[in-house]
């Protein structure tokens, strides 16, 4: 019976107000403490209906400092960066930037949900561009699928055929000429916010 019943209680010792403060210092995140919890962000978000916490609740978690919940949820990865919340927010909270900031934290601390394809895609994208200077959609999708769930390749085969047939799938992976310089510029990435 106990397996069905879960204790839900937030203890103040789990809250990390300094972390909340730190998130609010990231570019674009300065207004998280102005949120009035009206829910406009969730209402306008095309993906909130799939999220484990609505965007409004993410803001609430952030400013109360409940770091683990905010970083290990699916919500931040479902955010497609459409900026609807950001332009609709009556308090000018740049929710998209908060989501980005949480994604970075989640990757840094390896708190994202395992085998969830979206962070895998982000990391593969990051690697491909780092190596070549440009992205290749074909290789990106292939690598992401291999690392999350290879079975999806089957469902993608049909789309791939459509693209191939219309000359829209490029198997060649482009590379910029001054890639060495770019890699040099990209060396030693730092986080701007801290």
């Amino acid at each position: 019976m106990l397996a069905l019943i879960r204790r839900k209680m937030k203890f103040q010792r789990e809250a990390d107000p300094e972390w909340a403060e730190q998130i609010s210092k990231a570019p674009g995140c300065d207004r998280v403490f102005s949120c009035i919890q009206c829910g406009t962000c969730s209402g306008t978000c095309p993906l909130s209906i799939y999220m484990d916490f609505t965007p409004r609740r993410i803001i609430a978690l952030v400013r109360e400092g409940f770091r683990t919940d905010a970083l290990s949820c699916q919500t931040i990865w479902l955010c497609a960066s459409c900026y609807s919340c950001t332009v609709h927010c009556p308090q000018n909270v740049h929710i998209t930037d908060v989501m980005y900031s949480l994604k970075r934290e989640a990757i840094k601390h390896k708190l994202y949900p395992s085998r969830f394809p979206i962070p895998v895609l982000a990391r593969e994208f990051y690697e491909i561009v780092r190596r070549r200077g440009r992205n290749s959609e074909f290789w990106l999708v292939l690598r992401m699928a291999m690392k999350s769930n290879p079975l999806v390749l089957l469902t993608m085969a049909k789309t791939g055929w459509g693209l191939l047939r219309t000359g829209r799938m490029s198997l060649k992976s482009e590379r910029i000429t001054r890639i060495r310089e770019l890699q040099n510029e990209l060396a030693d990435p730092q986080e701007v916010s801290r």
């Binding site: 095309p46 497609a80 900026y83 740049h94 047939r165 219309t166 000359g167 799938m169 310089e181």
Partner: protein, 308 residues
């Protein structure tokens, strides 16, 4: 013409294709190039451009994200260009946001400039990031476009779909709430447009590849509402929007039993055809869905006729 020459002739534009226009969005580049040729405006590719970083880089490391984007701005700066055209909505936004955040946060600017200097590149200000929709609307103008139209519209009603990142959060391409510039340009070439409440809703971006069912459902909704409003085709200004709406219609038909088979076009294709462009050069053969309709609306052998 070299990029420097193009930048110096007041009419020429430097442009940043972005990765998508070299793969799934190849028809966008083809139609853009063809449209500019028809308008007699030189269009030159930014030399050695790199990926803008899209949304993924910002998820991992903001410093690198800003740097990737800034490198392109810096390259544009080296050829003394006033404008940099970014047809892909994601590229447009990322480039614009980099400039905006560098202006607002001196720390970002300093760090990016230091990194650029390591690769021997100059600072990145002074270049204005433009989207072709806004550029055609403001620089070329409705009157010029209208006066160049030589083919009459033979298609049906269309829904103009602006998507997200071109109109949000920056409002230079058009307003965030009810953008109308694409509607106006397409009406100018004779295409009737429908009221489309979802014109700025998100297509899900890369979600069709990651959380497939969710991404496809978003596109199903967009297609269905366009059809409900009487549109027979959707016209877009972003390669990812075009891809998402175009590529999964067969799957949607199978899952819903609804007879959705709708051409998904680029606004540059519609404008280019009206100006007498060759359908093949405009990439009109590259559509996956609604191919019959595309053939009917944009016949290749149609004699170019004066627009009445």
């Amino acid at each position: 013409m070299t990029p420097e020459q193009a930048a110096k002739t007041s009419k020429g534009y430097l442009y940043f294709p972005g990765c998508s226009l070299r793969a799934t969005g190849v028809a966008y580049e083809e139609s853009l190039v063809e449209l500019f040729r028809l308008l007699n405006i030189p269009l030159v590719e930014l030399p050695d451009w790199n990926c803008c970083g899209a949304t993924s880089y910002m998820c991992i490391d903001e410093g690198s994200a800003f740097l990737l984007s800034a490198r392109n701005l810096s390259l544009a700066h080296t050829v003394n260009s006033r404008d940099l055209l970014a047809p892909c909505a994601a590229c447009y936004l990322v480039l614009k946001k980099t400039q905006d955040y560098a202006a607002k946060h001196p720390k970002i600017r300093t760090q990016v400039e230091e990194s650029l200097a390591r690769g021997g590149l100059p600072p990145f200000d002074g270049v204005k990031v433009r989207h072709p929709l806004e550029m055609l609307y403001n620089d070329v103008g409705r009157d010029t476009l209208k006066s160049n139209v030589i083919r009459r519209w033979r298609g049906g009603r269309i829904a103009c779909y602006y998507g997200c990142q071109a109109v949000r959060p920056y409002d230079e391409v058009d307003t965030a709430y009810n953008p109308m510039r694409m509607d106006e340009l397409l009406q100018d070439v004779g295409a009737p447009t429908v009221d489309y409440a979802l014109k700025t809703k998100c297509c899900g971006g890369s979600l069709t590849g990651t959380v497939h069912e969710v991404g496809v459902r978003l596109n199903y909704i967009l297609l269905k509402e366009a059809a409900r409003k009487g549109a027979e085709a959707i016209v877009t200004i972003c390669p990812l929007c075009q891809f998402n709406l175009d590529a999964y219609q067969a799957e949607i038909r199978k899952a819903t039993n609804e007879p959705i088979d709708m051409p998904i076009l680029y606004f540059t294709q519609v404008l280019g055809y009206a100006l007498g462009g060759d359908p093949k050069k405009l990439g009109l053969h590259r559509g996956i869905s609604g191919r019959d309709l595309i053939k009917r609306w944009f016949p290749a052998h149609e004699e170019v006729e004066a627009y009445v």
